[in-house]
Subunit: 230 residues, 2 copies
DNA sequence: ACAAAAGTGTTCTCCTTACACCCATGA
DNA sequence: TCATGGGTGTAAGGAGAACACTTTTGT
């Protein structure tokens, strides 16, 4: 290690992931129950220490893959949490990440450092260790503002999905209600959905039409941004 | 230091500040010329190593104050840059900060680690050390998107200022032009400006009206957000 | 046949945009 | 008095919001 750098004290650095999933009409966050001190028994965000030869994003992907068995998802840096007392063991920075997942797509697996891995409804979270409640609050802010500019809501749904499902997702996130007709017009106006047919009749009422993404248009919009004011 | 933490390797952590100022119709960024290796002679963002008993924001304020003689400005965390090779000395994370300054309000002072401290027009920057060009690019993105939602443009102007000055600032940042009348209507509609009188007649042409902020309304809007689509 | 949820089109209103003339000053 | 930039209001157009009836299915 370089001497010029060693004259300055170094903090530990961890990477923590706020993973949003959506299933059965519920927006949820993935948490792990810790086996070890500090906060043994508490629920916390999946996380781990940064290794010196990997980027933080690579560390986040490693954590997702090894600790929760989730791969290839939407991931972006959220914020760096840095309160000196946030970890009782010493000075630890947390570079946090924000992830969106089709929660139906993965079967969870608890690693050795955790007793349990579980989806928790975002509005009924358990007691959280460290400052993870604060990290989650920031992630929810990010989700709310991001959903207005990028079609990220779609990352959470497993296609094919129905228009009422999509509307319910947006309404959950933004805590509001939309007019069905205006919502339909707006979404279809984006040109990223393709009608694929009528739902197999296993619902209690009239089945809804099914849609999938036009991948091409979808990725255009992800970059260009949209203006989702409804 | 705690043994549980020491089993993991630790990176160095620095804090770097992208400081925007506005004077003489020019949006500028504050840079320092390095005295020391690596990148001696190159221009870089003001920055320094994080100390273990301070938050990153406190470190950023310390850097601003000691290295550039700037205090009490708008400051927020921008992003954490983490490419393993970004510093030739070893693994160094940079937690970067975004600052807006009334550049006329401060007289700059070079500290011992720098030959020179200077405002550079944001579109004609010199060769930059480390990955600071990348950091600045991210800061400009942030400035552009933030200016649409929060009345931050005002942080850059020294009151009292004129409507054409404000318009020019917005046009510089967003690289566009606005209709004078519509701009005036929009801004006044926010209710955060107070008319204070007519400029002393030292201009070459008809003097413009002068405005200051209504601090109360201004801070309301800073938090609530506005929708500045013009 | 009835209850429950889904599909669809039109009107009105308000916000956005486009646009032209008069005014104040310095030279 | 003339050239330059600053101040102001109105009219037309477009996007958003409000709104009701018909359709499909399961019971």
């Amino acid at each position: 290690m370089n001497q010029a750098l060693d004259q300055y004290p170094k903090p530990s650095v961890t990477v923590d992931c706020v993973i949003f999933g959506y299933a059965a009409g519920q927006l949820s966050i993935l948490l792990m129950q810790r086996n070890e001190a500090p906060f043994a028994g508490s629920w916390t965000l999946p996380g781990g220490f940064l290794q010196l030869d990997e980027t933080c994003e690579a560390a986040a992907k490693r954590v997702l893959s090894t600790k929760t068995n989730i791969n290839d998802v939407f991931l972006e840096q959220l914020y760096t949490f840095d309160r000196p007392a946030r970890d009782p063991r010493g000075r630890v920075l947390s570079v946090s990440y924000f992830a969106l997942v089709n929660s139906e797509q993965f079967s969870l697996a608890a690693g050795q450092a955790a007793r349990d891995v579980r989806w928790w409804p975002w509005e009924q979270l358990p007691e959280l260790g460290f400052d993870h409640a604060e990290i989650i609050a920031k992630a929810i802010d990010r989700l709310r503002s991001k959903v207005l500019w990028q079609p990220i809501g779609f990352e959470l749904l497993t296609p094919p999905f129905t228009m009422p499902e999509l509307q319910n997702l947006y309404e959950s996130i933004l805590k509001t209600t939309f007019d069905r007709r205006n919502f339909h017009k707006r979404i279809m106006g984006l040109g990223i959905l393709q009608h694929v047919g009528v739902r197999r009749a296993n619902e209690r009422r009239r089945p809804a039409d099914l849609f999938v993404f036009d991948e091409q248009q979808y990725h255009n919009l992800l970059q260009k941004g949209l203006e989702f004011k409804i």
